[in-house]
Each structure stands twice: as structure tokens, then as C-alpha cells.
Subunit: 386 residues, 2 copies
């Protein structure tokens, strides 16, 4: 396992600029080479909402995220097993990361009962009862056949008091150790290796974050995630906790900040040493007519766009921004055409993926800080008059 | 106008088989060469529902249909005029045919008042009052800038009694003459020629159909449509009226059967001499999980598809049928993923367009009757076990 870990991730380049922990690396799975920092589009139920696989390939998506909780409930592990795993089922050629299911159990399902063994929950679809244990989380992800699996952690509401968080990180540590143990006792089902990440927790308490990181770093995981952030705390607190965490997390393993974030968040957290991100923002906002552009996020329904026949963005070009005007996309949303959601989703994901590409390039060329400053200045200008 | 008419359409090949009026031809606009028989995907509001332009290009779509009524109400002619017409607005490079708006006025809008001048109606969107006259129908289509425009006709509910239909075809004749006159008095707005079709009516009364055809055929339209069919009459009645009509319609002008139909309808009506079709069926059915395949139309939600991991169709291949299984598409529909509607729409339109391509090929090779028979036999078998 030691050697596969070394092959799994390499930091290839550390920015030589002062005042940044930004780094360029590569994760290698049997499905793809993933250059980091990377943003992973979210494909909750085995589909990126409103975006086709070939469109993801078009902007060189090397890894997507899928949700174990959703896939476990529908189509279910029997079908996924018969299909030969999720890659086959959805015909996705590149890598897949799955979460453990924990986050959705804690946020979506009803009638949760948490005990040391695991968490009992009722499906949000049909109320059926299920027990998610650390071992079960691994078993299900073995059947899904994701390239990178996540350990089961306890997800607390924010804010949670110190005593609750302290108790929770002990349980999380116990669950994750069991995940790792079960991971080592089981094998991949489809002939390619799977990797397992730990999730560090600790709420907004630095010393508890430190304890969680120190406990988990000892163990033989392939990567480390920071969980429990971007759940309502102020953005400056989030940045500070990320910065604090990356100072403690091992250098030689990928660092994944779960569920983050806006384009500015990505830049701020790359700056603080994060390698991997996922977020529903680009696709969810797209479905609500909110488009990301280099000059800020816009609400395409705004009437000022009704006669704006310029193409959407000249700098972060996608199929959409190269072919369609503000006015046309606005019309699609006003007319409630599904195509509006599709084009906005393709555009937003394309924007995110191209942003990450530019970030990686700027790190390799020791101009990340400059790139970040220029991007944020333009992005916050919201200047659509030139 | 005479010479442009000759350039506009040519019958290039008549099937030499006995018992068919199937013919292969070409319509030439300044945007595309359209081989006939052709099926035109319906882009009601300036967008084919859930399908991107590049996907239409992928299966060589040379012409789409857009609805004047919808575009007139939203985005409205001011925006379409500023955009430089619908081609520019939606960035569609090939041809566009627009209906006159009449059909939707009669079927969708409220508070209709029909008089000789035109039809007054209330928008189904906001209740605003509008008057659609033959002249207005042309003016709006001039602003839309479609390649082929349709004349304004009166659309009756089915069934309508003989006296109502007789009165209506007189009004339709009068309106269409006014359309033609106004067409000749006005010019295209965007530097490319537009063409104008007549619509023949007559309900289910052969002698009234004959009168409508004879009246309108005298006039200098570029093509003729058969309207008022596929509105609830038995399919055999429809086929018989199509057959009757094509015997009377001029040979040298394209014949367009409006709003038809199923794959079998297309074959039956090509057989009876139709050159052009449009129908919402492939896209509408797709959004409801109904997929067209060479072995019949299926409801992908059917549980028998839940573990059917075969690709959807080996014969009418599209991006979708080449890449995704019955089971995966079913999962997308069960999980209410927008992507399900997208992939089903791409698949169904691809199926229709490829069917038309095979039809044209079979006509040129004098094996249309055989192709038709084989297609229908397999299509009606609904045999998904081999």
C-alpha cells in the first residue's frame, strides 16, 4: 500500500512566490491522470445535472463526484453491481470520487439515530429504514467502484457547541479507523485499485481540528479531506480554518476541501494549499439562471440582458459563450426552455474547469498570486459595460 | 419570382416502384440544401426543446420549424428585429420554416374573435390583446426572417360540420391571397430571400379539400401544405385524404403535411407523395420517457428495462444509443434527472432524422416499398428479446 500511495499522488511543483501555499500536482488512478488543484463536478445520482458526458470531456474533466447515499437508494447496489459498477453504468471513462453517504444521511434523510455502530436513517424517497456503518460505507463504495472513496464521518449541524464537536470527532475517528480496516480487508470488484481518504472534522475549533488532523494523519489513508466547512460559518473563518488545517496536513497527500465553493473561494483556498474541490454551485446556480463570468456572477433573467446580443464571455470561452448571446440565454430562461438550464450548466462548469486550468498554469509559472488578484478584481467589478 | 421558384425546389428522382408516389427532391434556401422527404424538428420558442444546435447539426438537420405565435409574444418582434432575425438570435446556421401563428392562436390563446379582417386573440401568457391579420402574419415572419413562411389560415376544431368547413375554406383562401399579395409588396429584411407556402384545408371533406387545393394551386406560392389533418381523425382517413390531396397538388412544388407524425405515419405519407413533415412527437415523447427504436416505441420507465444493460438501438445509432443502456436512461428518468430528457430527446430526433435519411436512400434506389414494409414489420414487433 505504501508504494501505491506514492504512485497515487505527487506534488510536482510548489509556487516559488512568497505568501502562498499553492501547489501543482497530479493524482493518478487507473482511469485518468488528474492535475491538481482540481474541481470535481457533482454527479449526485450518476449524472451531472443537465450536462452530457461528452460535454464534460470537452473541457477535459478528469474526475467527477457521485453521491453514495443517492446511488445506494437509487438505482441501488444490486443494479450497480450487475452493471459492473458506476463507470460502466453511466459510461464515464475518467475517474470518480464518491462520498461516504454520511453527509446526505445527516442532511437529507429522516429519523436519524446515531450510535457507535453507525447511523440508522429513513430514506428520503420512500421512508425505508437503513443502517449505515463504516463497513457498509466501504462495501457500497466497493460496489459502486469509485476510484477514490471517502470514509464515514459524523456531520454536525453548524453551529455546534464544543462538547458536541469534541465527542463527534472521537466518533468520527473511530468510524474512519473502521473504514480503513475494512478497506484493507476487502478488495476491489472490477480489477482496478480504489483509494480511500480520511475526513478531518472539528467544527470551528482550531484545537479540535488539530486533534482530528493529528489523529487521522497517523493512519494510512491516501488523502485527507477537510469536512464540516462551508456550512454557514463566515467565509473568513472558513479561510482561516483551511489555512490552519493545511499547515498541519501531510504535504505528500492530496488535500480535499469538501463542498467548496465560489470562484473566489477556489482561489483563496488554492492559495492556502488545497488540491481538490467539489461543489454543486456551478450546476445548481445554472439551473436558476445564475451564470459565472469573468466579470462576476450574473442573473441572466435581469432585463438589462434582454437586448444584449454580445456573446457571454470572451475570456472563459465554452461552447455556450462562443455561440450564444446574453439575450438568447435570457430568452430561454424566460420561456422556461430546458435548453436554458443545459446551456447555463455547460457554461458554468466550463467556466469552473477553465478557471482551474488557468490556476494550475499560473502556479507552474510562479504567477498565481498575480493571477488571483487580477481575477478577483475583475470578478468583483461586475462591469458588463465593456 | 418564377425563376426563383424553379431554383427553390426540384424533384430529383421519382421512385420507379409501382404503387408509390414517393419522391426524392431538394429544396434550396440561402441557408441550406434540404433533401426531401424531410422531417423538421420543432423549435417552438426558438429552441428545440432539450437539444443543442450542435446536436442537431450532428445528425445533419438542414431545417427546423419555429412558431410565429410564440416568438411574437416572447421575446417579441422588437428583440428579434434588433437581433437581426431568428437565425442570428439563436445562432442557427441552416434553414428555418415558420408557421403563420394561426394554429396556436386557434388552439392556445383565449378570447378568440374571428372576422374577415383577421383574428383577435388574448395572449396565453399575459392576456394582452392582439390582432393577427394575413398582412401581420407576413410582417412578423419578415422580421423573424425565416427561410420559408406560411400563410395565415383558419384552423377549425375537429370534427367540424360541412357548412362550417365550406365557409372556412373561403376565408382561408381570402386570407392566403392577402398573404401572397402582402408578401409581394414587402421585402426580406436581412438580405436573403424568403419563400411563402399556401396551406390547403377542407376538413375531412374530399370535395372541399379539392376546392381548396384547386383555388390555391392557381396562385404563385412556392409550396403547398396540407393543414387540418392529424387533429383527431382516424389514421386511415388521414392517409386517404393525404393520398387524395397529393393527386391534386402540383408536382413541381414541395408538399408539406403539417404536424405529422409517428414513424409509421412518415412512411405512409412519403408513400403518398409528401415531401415535408414536422411534429412535436419525438421531443415531447422523449420528455415523457418514450423512446423510439427500430423495434417500436418504448416507455423507458418500464421496470423490465431496469437491468437491461444493452445499448438502446443498434440500427438507428445516435450518440445516445451508442453510449447508454436502457437501464441507465431508465435510471435517469426514475431519478428525475434533466439529463434523461436531454438524452431521450437527442435520441428520438436522431432516430427520426436517420429514418428520413434511410427513406431518401431507399427512394433513390427503388426499394422504398420494401424498406417501408421491413421497417413497419420490425417496428410493430416490439421485440426486445433479441
Amino acid at each position: 500500500m505504501g508504494s501505491s500511495k506514492i504512485d497515487f499522488f505527487h506534488v510536482l511543483y510548489n509556487s516559488k512566490e512568497t505568501g502562498t501555499k499553492a501547489r501543482f500536482g497530479v493524482i493518478t488512478t487507473s482511469h485518468s491522470k488528474i492535475e491538481t488543484p482540481v474541481f470535481m463536478p457533482v454527479g449526485t445520482a450518476g449524472a451531472i445535472k443537465a450536462v452530457e458526458n461528452r460535454e464534460l470531456e470537452e473541457f477535459d474533466t478528469r474526475i467527477i463526484l457521485a453521491n453514495t447515499y443517492h446511488l445506494y437508494l437509487r438505482p441501488g447496489i444490486d443494479i450497480l453491481s450487475l452493471a459492473g459498477g458506476l463507470h460502466n453504468f453511466m459510461n464515464w471513462k475518467s475517474s470518480i470520487l464518491t462520498d461516504s453517504g454520511g453527509f446526505q444521511v445527516f442532511s437529507l434523510s429522516g429519523l436519524k439515530k446515531v450510535r457507535d455502530e453507525g447511523v440508522e436513517f429513513a430514506s428520503h424517497l420512500d421512508g425505508s429504514r437503513h443502517l449505515l456503518t463504516p463497513e457498509k460505507a466501504i462495501d457500497v463504495q466497493r460496489i459502486i467502484g469509485s476510484d477514490i472513496m471517502m470514509s464515514l464521518d459524523e456531520c454536525l449541524p453548524n453551529p455546534s457547541d464544543r462538547r458536541t464537536v469534541e465527542k463527534s470527532i472521537r466518533r468520527t475517528f473511530d468510524w474512519e479507523k473502521r473504514c480503513l480496516q475494512h478497506f484493507k480487508l476487502t478488495e476491489n470488484k472490477y480489477g482496478f485499485p480504489q483509494y480511500l481518504f480520511a475526513i478531518t472534522q472539528g467544527g470551528t475549533f482550531k484545537d479540535l481540528r488539530q486533534r482530528s488532523i493529528e489523529d487521522l494523519s497517523e493512519l494510512d489513508f491516501h488523502g485527507n479531506a477537510i469536512g464540516g466547512l462551508a456550512v454557514g460559518e463566515p467565509v473568513d473563518v472558513m479561510y482561516e480554518l483551511v489555512n490552519f488545517s493545511t499547515d498541519l496536513l501531510p504535504f505528500e497527500k492530496p488535500r480535499y476541501l469538501m463542498g467548496v465553493g465560489t470562484p473566489v473561494d477556489l482561489l483563496e483556498c488554492v492559495d492556502r494549499g488545497i488540491d481538490m474541490f467539489d461543489c454543486v454551485l456551478p450546476t445548481r446556480n445554472a439551473r436558476h439562471g445564475r451564470l459565472f463570468t469573468s466579470r462576476g456572477e450574473i442573473n441572466i433573467r435581469n432585463s438589462k440582458f434582454s437586448t444584449d446580443f454580445r456573446l457571454i464571455d470572451d475570456e472563459y470561452s465554452t461552447y455556450v459563450s462562443q455561440n450564444f448571446s446574453f439575450a438568447y440565454i435570457r430568452h430561454l430562461f424566460m420561456a422556461k426552455e430546458i435548453l436554458g438550464m443545459q446551456l447555463a450548466s455547460v457554461h458554468n462548469l466550463g467556466f469552473y474547469l477553465k478557471l482551474m486550468e488557468k490556476i494550475r498554469e499560473s502556479i507552474r509559472e510562479n504567477r498565481f498570486k498575480e493571477f488571483k488578484m487580477n481575477f478577483i478584481e475583475k470578478y468583483k467589478s461586475k462591469d458588463f459595460n465593456n
